[in-house]
Every structure is written in structure tokens, then in C-alpha cells.
Amino acid sequence: MSTYTHAQPRPLGGPVLAGPVMKGLAGLAALGVGVMIWRLMAGLGAVTALNDGYPWGIWIAFDVVTGTALACGGYAIALMVYILNRGQYHPLVRPALLTSAAGYTLAGLSIVLDVGRPWLTWKVPLYFWSWNLNSALLEVALCIMAYIVVLQVELAPVYLEQARESRIPRLRALAERALPWFGKAMPWIVALGLLLPTMHQSSLGSLMMLAGPRVHGLWWTPWLPFLFLVSCMTMGYAAVVFESTLSARLFGRPQETRMLGSLSGVIAITVALYLGVRLSDLAWRGKLGLAAAFDLPAVMFLLEMALFAAPLLILASARRRERPASLFAAGMLLMLGGGVYRFDTYLVAFNPGPQWSYFPSVPEQLMTLGVVALEILGYVFVVRRFPILGGMPAAPAARS
């Protein structure tokens, strides 16, 4: 929102594709794009291991369902800053919005490539007279499409600030004129940026409610929408901690440990809420015994519980909250925990019958890796070229 508070964000400068890691990511991204083209030319059956029993694979369970939740940093931080009025977290907003924009854009691309006839996707928003308002997927699709646009609008001041430095006078004038307008409209854009994830992240839970009879008892519950909403917040906050710690290390910037430490108090409350609702619902419906079955679902469930409980224990101690390493570990565990929860709900818990099995094909895995690589490359490109990260003495001071 406002651009004149705290340490001014600045572009880091420097080359995007420097170093072996970035070059490796570029290679992965190229492979992923190759798979995308192949999929468009050859069809789903030729490229994926999907089948009539498991019609949704990792492109949905990971790229879309888990990917968008990891991209909820923008949502989680905006909720803190703009709604709960915790202005001290403001420096985290822009990088979080950027990760969200990257994550959602590529999740959108993954959905389009996953449907059988991608070239007809435009019908979903435009055939409004045919909308089936009972369909949770329609809601997810429309909300994600809208949110991708809203995220870019939320980031518009970033691009405009950079345009203000441009050598082209007309572009400079345009930026000068547009920036105050965005400043005024931003609360209402931010509100939309908060409403949309609230709607579609909970609907990602509703989606699997409809598969009810074939979803394992440890996962199916009328509380799925609520659990998906709360877990996207834990994952969003965790992703902010992860991204902030990592970019401080990689770009040689000061750590935001104090800010992250006090944020982690909020994370702990959210995690406790998730665990509380999840476990009491299972106990209430008498399904908790399924966790003692020692089969794959039970093991995965216990793993989920451990991945949520461990960070809660780490964050419970005020001393540990001040240590960057503990914070980072807790963030990693929470991202993993939320990811496994979503992955399980869509794949492990879903049982179409003994005659069906699914393991992602190599091209499927390559496309997923490529999408992650594209996201990281996009993030690095934007922070180097546009004013996203604050707290730097002067630009360009990055080492790469």
C-alpha cells in the first residue's frame, strides 16, 4: 500500500542467472516448459500417469492445492498489516505479495494444462448463464482467476515506482499520475485480495467433500473448508518466514528476526487452532481410532500431526523464537506439514478402489519441478529489477 513508510524498498540489481543454482533452475524451468508443450500436442494420456481411478494427480494436488497455499504469504501478511493493524510487519508485505503472485500465476497455468481441453478454459468465466452455483470447483476457478489479477494490481505500485525512474518521459508521467490513484484505491483492492483467498482456499477443502464416500475417514469432515482455510494461513505465515530468512541469507541483507519472532506468536495460535479443530472433530465423530491402523493413511496422518506439533513446540518457547535457525526450522516444518495435509487429502486419502493406482510419471514430475523453478526465477528477477525488498542501505549492493 503506502510506499513511503519504513526503509524504502529498492531493486537489488545484479544479474538474474548468475551462479550454478540459478542456471540449474533455468534448466529445470526449460524442461518443464518442454513438458507443457508436449502435453499440449500429445494429450494427457500420453504424458501423465493419470487414469479413470485417479483423474487428478500431482499437477492438482501439488501445483494447485499445495502451491496456492504456500503462496498465501501475501494473504496472511496482508491480514496482519491491513486488518489487524500490525504496521510493523509492513516490510514483509511486498515480498509476500510477490511470492503469492508468482505462486498463483503458475498454479493457474498448471490448472489450464491439467484440464482436458485447455483452449476452452475461457468458457468458465464467460459462460455465466451456465454457471453451476453448487460447484465448488467453479468457485475455486473464478476466485483464482480473479485473484491472479488482483495480486498484480496490488503489486502495481511496485512496477509504477520503478517506471518513475524510467528514462522515457511519458512513462514517468504516467507513473506519477497513477501512483496516487493506487494509493487511494488500495484499501479496497487489499480487501478483495483478502476476500478471494478466504473463499477459494476454503473451497479447496469443499472440493474433496464431494468425493466423500471414497475419502478416508481421517480426512473427510464437514470441517474440510475450515481446516483448509486455517492451514493456508499457517502455510502462508511459514512461507513468509522461509522466504524472508532465505532472501536475507542469499542477498546478504539484515535478518528480520525480531519481526519474524513476534509474527511466530501468531503462527503458533493458528497452528494450535488447526490442530485443535482437526483432532476434536475426529474424536467427536469417533474416527480417531483409524490413526492406529498402521496402514499408509494412518502413517501419513501421524506424520502430519508430527509436522504440525513440532513447530508448535519450537515456537512455544520465547527464547527459541528469537533464534533465526529455530524460526526457519519451524517455518520449514509448517510448510511441509500443510503440504502433506493437502497432498494426503487429494491423493492418499482418496481411494477409488483396489484396481486403481497412480504414481506421477516422469514428465508430470518434470513439469511440477519446472513450475517451482519458474516461480523462484520469477521472484529473483523481480526483486533484482523492482523495489520489493526494504532495509538495504543502498542499491545495488547484492552479491550473487
Binding site: 503506502s2 491480514l79 478466504t198 464431494l210
Partner: protein
């Protein structure tokens, strides 16, 4: 501090309330009934001899590529399962000397999960309660496949432009006054066509007349909220791949939760107004150079 705590609570309550309230609403799930003119089929395991004439007739009537299966080294048109070229199939169940054939096709649910899932209503319950498919509104998302508890909708994996394939009760033949192809060719009338109410009566009559032969239940009468294709059998229905789904329709809970959250779109609009108002009040202003919540900046 008091103000901000109140804001914190209000903010959390706002976001959580809509989804948290929803599971409560699920208890008041809406029950849908079959339309008065609902048609369907009745299949009787004691009459079927497994000749598979219905499988061949179905493929012909629906312009599907004849599919060979593993049976007889692939010499016959005997597909292994429902698939992109097979809308109707006969399967064999054997256990401890007992055998039974079972016919599988769309059940034409009274409250179909596939139609509830479908974004643009490509799958819809239309005239006579038949669940039909309109490819022009299908983008191939396959949510119907995730939703259907019977595993009926199949996807054209081998095609570049994949669509959904499923039995539509030969609606195109019914429109011409013909019977569904599988019913027409059945030499033993193991599968018959008619109004759902009349088929139910016929099924109950058979159970009454031969109580020792049949499992005393008409599958589909109430299962999963009722189906328009009904089964009577001499072996337990679970053995035939007809799952015990209980009397509530599959979409009932999801729809109740969805409607609980989105009734008249009032909750999202109210939430948007509230979020906007809060964000507006908390916005950074030139007279508050520290921006949002400047007062809290100094907290340890």
C-alpha cells in the same frame, strides 16, 4: 492496546465465522426427490446369463469404437471395464462356488454428485431425470470423476481433446420412441426399462415372490439418496461393486456447507465491506508517517 486486541478478535472472527458456521448448517441437508416422470432400468442378477449382447449393442448405439479386452486373447468385443469406449459392461463375481453377473452403467442418481460438481452444467439432470452430457460446456476438468461414488464417468485419455464418456440412458433413442439399446437386446429381460415408480413395484414383487432367492433389498431405492437404475440380486450388493453409501445423497453435505457460506452471496459481500472498511481505517496516511499501527511499533 485494548483497541488492537478488540480488532484482532474482530478480524479473526470475521474470517473464521463464515466457514466455521458452515458445518453446523450441514445437518439441515436438503433432500432431493426423483422427478414424477423419472424413468430408469431394473437389473436382476438372477436372470442375467452374461452373454454381453448389451455391451455390443451399447457401443453400436452410441457410436463407440468396439473395445477388445483380455478375455479370449482379445478375440471378442469384451472390454475389461468401463472406459472411454465403453458405457455399459457385464462383470462376473465368483466366490465359494457362487457366481453372479452384474451390469454396470450410469446409475442416474436422483441427486447426482457429477452434476453437482460440474462447473458449467455439462452434466445435468434433464428430462425424465436422465443425467446427460453436453460436451460444448465441458473443458475436461474431470471433477465429475472425482465426485461419482460409482466411478462411472470416464475420460478420453487417448484423445488429444479429451471429453467425458458415460451412459445417458440412450436419451437419443428414447426421443425416437425406442428402448435403451441394452434393454432392447437382452434375451432374458434381465434389464428392463420403465418409470422408476413402476420398476420399484416390480422389484418389490420379485423380492416378495421369491424371498429365499433374493437379498431382501432393492439397491437404489434409497441408496445415496436414490438412483433411477435399480438392482435386485441373489448375492450381497457390496460383492457386486455396489457400495453401501447410506441413504443420504453424496452432494447433500457439501451443498449444505456451500450454501451455508454463500447463501445469497450475502456473507462474502458483508465480509468484503468489513475488510475494506478496516483496511481503509488502518491505511497509511501522510499525517501518520509510520503508517499502520504506529503506536505498536515500539512494542518489545
Amino acid at each position: 492496546m485494548a483497541t488492537s486486541r478488540r480488532q484482532l478478535l474482530r478480524g479473526l472472527a470475521t474470517v473464521g465465522a463464515a466457514t466455521a458456521a458452515a458445518p453446523g448448517a450441514a445437518r439441515a441437508a436438503e433432500v432431493r426427490r426423483a422427478p414424477d416422470d423419472a424413468v430408469g432400468m431394473l437389473y436382476d442378477t438372477t436372470l442375467c446369463i452374461g452373454c454381453k449382447a448389451c455391451v455390443v449393442a451399447c457401443a453400436q448405439a452410441n457410436d463407440l469404437t468396439p473395445e477388445r479386452g483380455t478375455y479370449g486373447q482379445g478375440r471378442y468385443q469384451a472390454p475389461d471395464d468401463l472406459n472411454e469406449n465403453t458405457k455399459n459392461i457385464i462383470k462376473l463375481y465368483t466366490e465359494e462356488g457362487r457366481t453372479a453377473y452384474v451390469k454396470q452403467q450410469c446409475m442416474h442418481c436422483v441427486d447426482p454428485a457429477c452434476a453437482n460438481a460440474c462447473m458449467l452444467g455439462a452434466l445435468q439432470k434433464r428430462e425424465f431425470g436422465i443425467v446427460t452430457y453436453d460436451a460444448s460446456k465441458c473443458i475436461g476438468c474431470r471433477y465429475c470423476q472425482m465426485a461419482c461414488p460409482f466411478g462411472i464417468p470416464k475420460f478420453q485419455w487417448s484423445r488429444y481433446s479429451g471429453k467425458i464418456v458415460k451412459c445417458e440412458l440412450c436419451a437419443h433413442r428414447l426421443a425416437k420412441g425406442q428402448l435403451p439399446a441394452c434393454v432392447e437386446v437382452c434375451p432374458r429381460q434381465a434389464v428392463i426399462y420403465g418409470r422408476r415408480t413402476e420398476l420399484l413395484e416390480e422389484a418389490r414383487r420379485r423380492l416378495r415372490e421369491k424371498p429365499d432367492l433374493y437379498v431382501q433389498k432393492v439397491y437404489g431405492e434409497t441408496d445415496a439418496g436414490g438412483t433411477q437404475v435399480l438392482y435386485v440380486s441373489h448375492v450381497p450388493f457390496e460383492k457386486l461393486g455396489l457400495p453401501d453409501l447410506g441413504p443420504e445423497s453424496v452432494p447433500a453435505t457439501q451443498r449444505a456447507v456451500q450454501h451455508g457460506i454463500y447463501r445469497g452471496f450475502a456473507a462474502p459481500i458483508a465480509l468484503y465491506g468489513l475488510l475494506g472498511a478496516l483496511a481503509f481505517r488502518n491505511r497509511a496516511r501522510p499525517d501518520r508517517p509510520e503508517g499502520h499501527g504506529a503506536g505498536e511499533e515500539e512494542r518489545p
